[in-house]
Amino acid sequence: MISLYKVSYKNLLRKKTRSILTIIGIALSAWVLASLMGFNQGYEAALNRDIDNMGFQVTLMAKGCPYEAATLMLKGGTGLRYLKQSVADSVLSEEEVEKITPMLMQAVFDPNKGESGGMSAYLGVDPATFPSMKTFLEFKQGKWFTDSKAFEAVMGYEAAELEQREVGDKLLIPEKDIELTVVGVLKRTGTQDDGTIFLPISAVQKIFGKEGEITSVGIKVKKEANIAKFEERLYNIPDVQVVSLAQVKQTIMNLVSTAKVMVFSIAVIAILIAMVGVINTILMSVFERFQEIGILKSIGAMPADIFKLIWMETLILCFFGGVTGSAMAFGLSKLTEVLIRKLLPYAPTGSLVQLDAKLVITTLIAVLIIGLVSGIYPAWRAASVRPLESIRSEAN
């Protein structure tokens, strides 16, 4: 006994080049489809991961206080406003809060820095909470402070580069005549941490005479907490401004949705092209085989049998195209990432395209549905061939 499946796949082998080209067409659209779906689930995850890596989703600071090191530099280290350390404690009692870390930022003009002098930014951090919130900070050399009150410094990658300091070197704070010991140098992070010099917060308070004062509080919110509601309450604290990464994320997601629409239109076009390719290939093969199909009918094939036979051919093409395309999506995911990064207004670090088995199955099902739909017309045409047509054409 010979199965309908065997008849159809052997037929596809008849015109190998044509079948392979069609499979490539389907594979390309399956690749686009799988990559896009992978991107769809990967992007938000990457963005969340990035935001998680920042250690805290909400930063609290005194109204009017510059909250970026860059702004602080531009203002020449002035304009800092202070919060009482007790604010931090009151925030910690809010139920949504998982962890907090108080910080004290100071900036000093250093005449020996660079060619014509520059600002040095010192960030006082709490050795007990800060390292555990910023777990992604990695050391190139050394480690965090030995003591919570020590006059020690951990230098951001660029700060260390600029000052040419290594672990064990001394570091002088200009105007204050205080020497610090460098105990650690961080790896590059690509954030403003790179240019920062970290000190224990108590040391900064003592050196700059700011006992009991802080410039900001980093807040890590519990995973399941309602951030929006929590922020609402923070806004009610007088003389405080709230900088929320949730807002930043929302802005980015809005920007990205535009890019997504564009990318999905590409996918739709790719699928349409693949469909036209499949219909064309199968229809051509049906027209070439009119006589053969007529003979199949004269030897007992029902219209439904012929319909199945041709439908099977489209399914086989689509199946192999789908499998190839999914494999391409996996194999070329690095390339896909590069292409997608070019299209995006903001790309988080880490892998943007997240592929898994579920996604491959979804792609295969989608491609098979495309095959089923594309196969309907050619299969119907073949099914309606009358045996007589083929016999008639040899009669004269």
Binding site: N11, G300, D305, I391
Partner: protein, 227 residues
């Protein structure tokens, strides 16, 4: 052994060609007995193909009655659908044509077995090698049609027509693409099938030598029985 295989009464088939009406089969009545071997001869365009297509239920007549194996096929005034015709055909008929229409990608054996993909008659022969042996193509069964000679290809087509054990074998110019020696072989084969398997054979040819292998020769001219 006088059972009737096919009875045709006043069969007509007309075609329109522009304003002209062509009567390809003009009022033909005939009986073909079970186990009989009949050949139709006649010049080209005399309506042989049109007639046996109707007898073989490949086509509806314009008017007239046809019964096959004592079942009325045409004559209730209503043409049969493609599906209904298929059901009758696969039960009763095997066909061979001038062109062999083997599927080039399938082996000899697969081509022969192809009808069973769609339908397997319960009474059909299980022993395929016996059939291939009888037709002298057993040792070619794993070859592709392209590797065979014309005579062998036609034998494969015969095997394919016989695999579901039809009652009637229709052959429309089966030797049209073969040289005279091969033609005689096919003639002999049809004769043998008729004699040994008591198969009803209806042959269309314009080769008088081949026609003579039949029990009865019917000559057609202009859509009518001439003799």
């Amino acid at each position: 052994m006088n059972e009737v295989a096919i009875t045709a009464q006043n069969l007509r088939k007309t075609y329109r060609r522009g304003s002209e009406e062509i009567c390809a089969v003009n009022d033909i009545s005939l009986d073909i007995e079970k186990g009989e071997y009949v050949s139709f001869i006649g010049p080209s365009g005399s309506g042989k193909t049109t007639l046996i297509n109707i007898l073989g239920c490949l086509d509806n007549p314009s008017s007239g009655k046809l019964s096959v194996a004592r079942k009325t096929v045409f004559g209730n005034g209503k043409p049969l659908s493609e599906k209904e015709l298929t059901v009758i055909r696969r039960e009763l008929f095997g066909y061979i044509f001038q062109k062999f229409y083997l599927i080039p990608t399938l082996t000899v054996l697969e081509n022969v077995l192809l009808p069973r993909t769609f339908y397997k008659k319960p009474s059909a022969n299980e022993n395929v090698s016996e059939l291939l042996n009888m037709l002298g193509i057993e040792k070619r069964k794993h070859h592709l049609p392209g590797q065979l000679s014309g005579g062998e290809m036609q034998r494969v087509a015969v095997a394919r027509a016989l695999i579901n054990k039809p009652e009637i074998l229709l052959a429309d110019e089966p030797t049209g693409n073969l040289d005279s020696a091969r033609s005689q072989e096919i003639g002999k084969l049809l004769n043998e099938l008729n004699q040994k398997e008591s198969l009803t054979v209806i042959l269309v040819t314009h080769n008088p030598e081949l026609a003579k292998t039949a029990d009865r020769i019917i000559e057609l001219r202009d859509g009518k029985i001439f003799s």
